[in-house]
């Protein structure tokens, strides 16, 4: 990798022994050609990276003050809030950082759904992303248990109990997960250990995610591949600057919540210490789990030998795992919904369905919410299993442009000369 130019002797010295600068230049620098028409929806990947860094940094400092023991955990978090210098700030950043992480990642995922970013040749990139989502969810779930409030405890109890639905070995698995006969000190300790570990596993998976991304580069709003240098611009400085701008906007929204409404997304009852003998009247998970919670609770009937409980658990996991096979359910050769008039509308109906399920999840599992939840769950799976496969054959996509630069340069798309000219809009 001797194509890296510099006059700085120190950088030269290092580069000769460890070609890290040319590596970065190829990864996120001037030697990484990127489609020149990326919109702001493409900012959310780097924002997710920023959120992960924020979580790890604040988490490490919280861990210096936190005590993972059922007798001290709640008090140690209250001490962080009251006595530790800036402890309130660290905790509020970490607490709301989790929510913002999910906001950003969900937008990132829906972006992929709209523009067909999961289609060939990016299937594996997409699938790694789904696994990242699962690990993120496990991390957030275990983190929420750590402050040992009422919702921490009962959320943990209800969710771990889901595994008891597994036939034959379910009960033993739950006892193994708990390390005892209820959610207790051994459970809290292992959750802390894993909560510390998993974010670093995430870092590793993000590296693989980006590795796979670089194989073909980003998808783009038109959903067609770059056909030559006239279709792309170097990542640095164009997208480094754009990503930084996005981070600025993100930080404005994030800090506004952290400093002015830090408890808006939390549950007040989690400021009450865990009591293993008293269940709160309403158990609700954090907002980012509500749609899955609605799916879980929507099953109230047995089917053959499968109990309602087991089916609920299976559907809940299936609602995410189904994303893994999405590239093979949606067979339409056209990626971007810009050229898929029907898919475009069904996409927004699907978004509305997810929001509807979230609203159901926040409400008690009784009529009318129950029936709405059942309809919402049925539609969720129908979207993937019936609508998308049918649409692949039935929909007539609009004609695609010949290249990314064609619609911008009015027919100049095939010319090689336009390379150096950075275009602002696509």
């Amino acid at each position: 990798m001797s194509d890296f130019q510099t006059t700085n002797p120190v950088i030269k010295w290092i580069e000769y022994r460890l070609p890290v600068f040319s590596f970065l230049d190829h990864a996120v620098g001037t030697k990484y050609p990127t489609a020149k028409n990326l919109s702001y929806w493409w900012n959310f990947g780097s924002l997710a990276g920023l959120a992960l860094v924020i979580m790890i940094v604040t988490g490490i400092f919280l861990a210096m003050q936190y005590t993972a023991h059922v007798d001290y955990a709640f008090d140690s978090v209250e001490r962080i809030m009251r006595d530790v210098n800036y402890g309130w700030m660290l905790r509020y950043i970490h607490m709301n950082g989790g929510s913002f992480f999910f906001i950003v990642v969900y937008i990132h995922i829906f972006r992929g759904l709209y523009y067909g970013s999961y289609k060939a040749p990016r299937e594996l990139l997409w699938m790694i992303g789904v696994v990242i989502l699962l690990v993120m969810m496990a991390t957030a779930f275990m983190g929420y248990v750590l402050p040992w409030g009422q919702m921490s405890f009962w959320g943990a109890k209800v969710i771990t109990n889901l595994f008891s639905a597994i036939p034959l070995i379910g009960e033993d698995i739950v006892i193994w997960l708990w390390g005892g006969f209820s959610v207790d000190n051994p459970t809290l300790n292992r959750f802390f250990s894993l909560h510390y570990l998993l974010p670093f596993v995430l870092v590793g998976m993000v590296v693989i995610h980006i590795w796979a991304l670089h194989q073909f580069g980003s998808n783009n709003p038109l959903g067609i591949e770059t056909k030559g240098p006239q279709d792309s611009i170097p990542f640095h400085p164009y997208y480094t600057v754009k990503d930084l701008f996005g981070m600025g906007v993100f930080m404005i929204a994030f800090t506004a919540v952290v400093f002015f409404m830090p408890n808006a997304m939390g549950e007040a009852i989690n400021y009450q210490e865990a009591d293993p003998l008293v269940t709160p009247a309403h158990i609700v998970p954090e907002w980012y789990f509500l749609p899955y919670y609605a799916i879980l609770r929507s099953v109230t009937f047995d089917i053959w030998f499968l109990s309602a409980k087991l089916i609920g658990v299976i559907l809940m996991f299936a609602s995410i795992l189904i994303l893994l096979v999405l590239p093979w359910l949606d067979r339409s050769p056209v990626r971007s919904s810009k050229f898929r008039p029907v898919h475009k509308q069904l996409f927004w109906i699907f978004v509305a369905d997810c929001i509807l399920l979230g609203w159901v999840g926040a409400n008690p599992a009784e009529p009318p919410y129950l029936y709405i939840g059942q309809a919402g769950t049925a539609y969720y799976f129908a979207h993937f299993l019936i609508i998308l496969p049918l649409l692949s054959v039935l929909e007539r996509p609009r004609p695609l442009p010949n290249s990314i630069s064609e619609p911008v340069l009015k027919g100049g798309g095939t010319a090689m000369g336009a390379t150096a000219k950075p275009m602002e809009k696509a």
Partner: protein
């Protein structure tokens, strides 16, 4: 070495090599499982957790018609000293009405004393009904508010998502009015 590694070797050499690969791979797999098992098993309840596995309860102070909660292995134990009317009511229920059929008789050692683990068999909430003023559900027993499971006066599931009756823990009467749970 290069000679023996040559793929042009006779058939006999090929199968022997395959066998060695399989054997080495198999040993490696067995070794890995053997090394991982202690890690997995370390997460199971430890000796001290298991040592807490039995509790004695004095039933003397409990009055007829009173419900009392004690703890055993971190879970609440519901003790219900039932009146004759309640017992008769529970015994009059036909088994066909029960999602998890079990006679009242099979759930108690002495009809007056109903002793159960107070954990909803759905997803582990603590059903209401132990304190006066609690909702008792549609069958006069216990009601789990989490997802709406109704248990009857023998702790049997009657309505709602819970699949099983409230579990009866292992216990024995060590004296007339004293039990040992676990």
């Amino acid at each position: 070495m290069t000679d023996t590694a040559s793929p042009t070797h006779g058939d006999e050499g090929e199968t022997r090599r395959d066998f060695l690969y399989l054997l080495a791979g198999g040993m490696g797999a067995v070794g890995t499982v053997a090394a991982v098992w202690p890690l997995i098993d370390s997460m199971n309840p430890a000796a001290d957790v298991l040592a807490l596995a039995s509790t004695e309860v004095d039933l003397d102070p409990i009055e007829l018609g009173q419900r009392v909660t004690v703890t055993w292995r971190g879970n609440p134990i519901f003790i219900d000293r039932r009146t004759k009317a309640v017992i008769d009511g529970a015994r009059a229920v036909p088994l066909e009405d029960l999602p998890d059929p079990e006679t009242d008789d099979a759930r108690v050692q002495q009809a007056e004393w109903l002793i159960m683990i107070g954990v909803c068999t759905h997803l582990g909430c603590i059903p209401k009904g132990q304190k006066s003023g609690d909702p008792l559900g549609e069958y006069g027993g216990w009601f789990c508010p989490c997802h709406g499971s109704h248990y009857d006066t023998a702790g049997r599931i009657r309505k709602g998502p819970a699949p099983k009756n409230l579990v009866v823990p292992p216990y024995s009467f060590v004296e007339d009015t004293k039990i040992q749970i676990g």
